[in-house]
Amino acid sequence: MTEADIWTILETVPDPEVPVLSILDLGIVRAVSIEANDSVQITITPTYSGCPAMDMISMGIRMKLLENGVKNIHIINQLSPAWTTDWMSDAGKQKLKAYGIAPPLDQHNNSELFGEEHKIQCPQCNSFNTELISQFGSTSCKALYRCLDCKEPFDYFKCHR
């Protein structure tokens, strides 16, 4: 088994909260290495400090590798460099949108108070005529919006950087 094989297996580990995304789409896996004694070392990084999915993600990695015959697995949690939505793959962003969640914008001003809001596109009808309902949503990584054209509420995957 090569490191490339391990990456291919990890591609099939879904995010527990947004199962349409793999943990690779999210940029959670930072490194894979095979050590001299054939142990596999996986370095992952949390999205949010309090993300309750991290334990399930570690478990998911372990299970999937075991299924594929990898027995000696070490998962390392690494905090720095801090995870950012910049690491989300383009394929991941497209999958999110198809799933009904607006993907993170590259530039989103999180520091200026009452700063001019970037228009978030409705994942259902593609309208930019939308408004923020709440900066916080059903999980740490999402904010809640509503579309003023098709009237559907929708999740926005917050820009985190």
């Binding site: 400090s49 108070l113 900066q135 916080f136 809640l144």
Partner: protein, 259 residues
């Protein structure tokens, strides 16, 4: 371990990491009391979300403190099996929630401080402390924006909201001074070049708060008045004991329980 630390510096670092963790845990626990009681659903969710971030940061800090202690304790031991006098959290964090205005104001005053502190700590010579700070800073930026905007909305809102949040400002103010009074451990670490001198953060913090209060049309209290202290040395207000009694009940009654 990152570097071979001198024993007393290592002890100070452990105490300091506990101090940071305790404040986050107690404040996170406090604001999660809003769960199911928020004024509207979205803000109820916001408070629990912020609480969850604080709890996550707390876990990283307790895990690190446990490593520094080297006594094979776990993060759960540190959260659930220490008594009131061993907790080093800021008095600000343990104050009861009051109304929604009091809660967002307390959050704002704390996050404004955290924003400045973490921005320095992310460059600390202690790599693990720096990594936790770097991670927490992004979350803090988001909490700061939310809480500052709510302080402005309520201050510059109706007569009712303004008079109530102004009253909260006057009540809470004496608990803000403690952030800028270094404990013995903070002094040791500042001398060792590991953490910034918190007294130097005060001016910048006041500037931030003054700016937001001006926009919120709130009056700044007298900044040279008496300030409460004691949290960092384990001398708390009566409120902490009740919190710990509730929070620690399960682990004390049924030791070793796990999720």
């Amino acid at each position: 371990m990152n570097i071979a630390l001198h024993t007393d510096i290592q002890q100070a670092l452990c105490n300091y990491v506990l101090q940071l963790a305790d404040t986050n845990l107690i404040l996170g626990q406090r604001i999660c009391e809003w769960c199911g009681h928020g004024p509207i659903l979205e803000q109820d969710i916001a408070l629990s979300n912020i609480g969850l971030d604080l709890l996550g940061q707390t876990r990283s800090l307790y895990q690190y403190a446990a490593t520094l202690q080297g006594e094979s304790k776990t993060e759960d031991d540190l959260a659930f099996l220490r008594s009131e006098r061993q907790f080093k959290n800021l008095l600000l964090a343990e104050q009861p929630n009051g109304d929604f205005g009091y809660t967002v104001l307390r959050q704002f005053l704390y996050e404004a401080f955290q924003l400045l502190l973490l921005d320095r700590l992310k460059n600390s010579s202690d790599q693990q402390l720096a990594a936790i700070a770097e991670k927490s800073l992004i979350e803090t930026t988001y909490h700061y924006k939310w809480s500052a905007e709510w302080v402005i909305r309520l201050g510059d809102g109706t007569d009712e909201s303004k008079s109530r949040i102004q009253k909260s400002v006057n009540e809470i103010w004496t608990y803000t001074g403690e952030m800028f009074i270094p404990s013995v451990d903070e002094q040791t670490l500042t001398s060792a070049g590991i953490i910034p001198d918190v007294t130097n953060l005060k001016e910048e913090w006041l500037h931030k708060v003054t700016e937001v209060f001006a926009e919120a049309t709130l009056d700044m209290p007298d900044n040279n008045g008496w300030m409460q202290r004691g949290g960092k040395t384990g001398v708390h207000t009566e409120h902490l004991g009740y919190m710990l009694a509730e929070m620690q009940y399960l682990q004390r009654q049924y030791p070793g329980q796990k999720w």
